[in-house]
Symmetry: C2
Subunit: 373 residues, 2 copies
């Protein structure tokens, strides 16, 4: 397997995913296309609703590119939602204003599980159409500006929403099923894993150049349950993924378990190229823990730093870069860092503070690579 970076104006993100040295630490932001941007709100208003936005290829393309036009980011990420797959399974997704996602037909019992199956990927065609459309829109002067990341929720994270019927503080319903009827939970997770694998492979076919699995709720599990009910099924997804796109380029796999810093040892042999981290975990200790695995690290500044003034942002960026430590600068593969937030950006973020963040990362990470004089 090889990778041809010549099609890109900026391939630093993909290079770092593969452990290759870059002139600075590449970066993107989880939920970089979103409500903190006035231009996003304008498109959202035109679309009428969140799902109206996500299911329309022109709108999805428009909002995916908005943060790239405003900031010097090194990757685009498909604008979509992690709950498209259970929606395609027939659970009836809706977003009520200020309420978060809701499923009209949550899975609560064996009869519900009996009806569940890997959905026809045709029902998710709007996502794959958006991926193709974004890929085209990313081309400028004959080159692709930056790579495009596709994504999905993890099998466990999807199951949380599918059983709870929406967000949850305590995961009482999904954990009740897990503890009382582990057999049912394993059936849901197996279906979810195969659905997520098919979904991500179809995104790769449509043009996604890296894929990310968001295990947003893995951290709600006990250490033992995490291994059994989340990590095992994330692994089942990863092992089914296409390793290259149609042109033969490697498609890096990123796994992010929010609150998963305690379990890095268990993730050492996960078949992926990048591990995402939240801010609770020190990058230097994660780097030590994953040393020798060839895995890059992605993260992990607290998104709330974006409410502080630029000088504080600059300082905290410096602390995160220093925590990762000396960048890989040699030939061949080494341990690399992709800068990101430790969680999605807040809708209340002042957009100009993101400018300060991006500048702080670029400036300081270039300086760390400058030859000593």
């Amino acid at each position: 397997m090889t990778s041809d970076f010549s099609q890109f104006s900026n391939s630093t993100f993909l290079q770092a995913c593969l452990g290759l040295a870059t002139p600075y630490t590449p970066m993107w932001l989880m939920r970089q296309a979103g409500r903190y941007l006035p231009e996003y709100k304008a498109t959202r208003a035109k679309a009428g609703s969140f799902m109206g936005l996500a299911t329309n290829r022109e709108y999805a393309t428009e909002v995916t590119l908005q943060p790239l036009d405003r900031y010097d980011l090194d990757a685009a990420i498909l604008f979509s939602d992690i709950l498209t797959v259970p929606d395609a399974m027939g659970l009836g997704l809706s977003f009520e204003t200020g309420e978060g996602p809701k499923f009209s037909s949550p899975i609560r019992d064996e009869a519900g599980v009996d009806k569940l199956e890997v959905p026809d990927m045709g029902k998710l065609q709007y996502v794959f159409d958006a991926v193709s459309s974004i890929r085209k829109a990313l081309v400028q002067d004959g080159k692709q500006r930056v790579p495009l990341i596709g994504f999905s929720g993890s099998p466990w994270t999807l199951a949380c929403y599918m059983v709870e019927g929406g967000g949850s503080d305590d995961f009482r319903l999904v954990k009740s099923m897990m503890y009382a009827r582990p057999d049912l939970m394993h059936r849901i997770l197996a279906i979810n894993a195969d659905a997520v694998a098919a979904y991500l492979n179809a995104q790769i076919d449509a043009g996604a150049q890296a894929v990310m699995v968001f295990d947003s709720w893995g951290g709600a599990l006990s250490h033992a349950a995490f291994a059994q009910f989340s990590l095992a099924y994330t692994r089942r997804v990863l092992t089914q993924l296409k390793r290259t796109d149609s042109a033969g380029n490697i498609v890096p796999r990123i796994v992010f378990t929010k609150g998963g810093g305690l379990w890095l040892e268990a993730m050492r042999d996960l078949p992926c190229e990048v591990i995402g981290l939240d801010w609770t975990c020190s990058l230097s200790s994660a780097r030590n823990m994953l040393h020798g695995t060839g895995k890059a690290l992605q993260g992990n500044i607290d998104p709330n730093i974006l409410f502080a003034p630029p000088e504080a942002i600059y300082q905290e960026v410096g602390a995160v870069l220093a925590d990762f430590g000396a960048p890989h600068t040699g030939q061949g593969a080494g341990q690399t860092h992709i800068f990101n937030l430790g969680h999605g950006i807040s809708q209340f973020t002042p957009p100009e503070h993101v400018t300060a963040l991006v500048q702080a990362v670029k400036t300081q990470s270039r300086a760390m690579r400058a030859p000593a004089r």
Copy 2:
């Protein structure tokens, strides 16, 4: 310093706090007096409101003893709320139905911090009265049934509520202040720490026989911020605490940081006898990490196990006990375990499942200590 256990019918909890062997693993449950118990709801209805309950010594005594009458638990914990201290600071605590705690005068700026001071402990006399009253009520046939635990929120956890004005999903306001004006945050935390120390010392004077610091929101911080803004001030509390009660008995100090499993290394030298853990952290790895510190471990079953049938509860209890590993059975001090949930019990818990939990812990932990035949 010594401890006289002869005043107790059951002193297993205090013994385990001090690293001494017990015939089984002692246990209590965070929020054991609470809404899942019908008898609690009856008292709460008589009291009219949550604060009406917490501020009345008879009611507070009544509900503190309710779980002990129903279950074979090894400790009582003062019925109160972690927000009594900021309420005494004048922030105006109220509990709206289904809304959680609210402060009418949250701290949002320098002017608010300027007005903040360690409150007159007289304003918290109702708490100390409850402690004395509970101590008396615990005496049966001339002996105290079990020891009484006093508690407080940690300085950082109190600050979260004081700045946010209530609960929060993202801690945006308190972290904005922390990142933008660390000087103000340090001022709040120093006042909180001294207030919490005075509060816990007054609880000890009134009869608390162990004290616990609940750092419920420490886990929301980055690893670096946790050390600076939470752990440092928990330490400031601990170092000011009385080491013995008026009779000269050691008063063990328990520290519980929800989501703090990643930071046990930093807690190794914390001046306390017991470290509480949530379910994300393996007890065996925590035991290894804290080996040689003399610290006991408290925790850590997922409270959602209580929604599963008794057989599943029995099995999961076995897994938690086995995770801690071989109990300390020798003379003198060793590494001990106090069984607990990894978080407060859910209001939706079926009370009879708690019976199953207690039986499972007692039976299996006794069997683990039985001499091999």
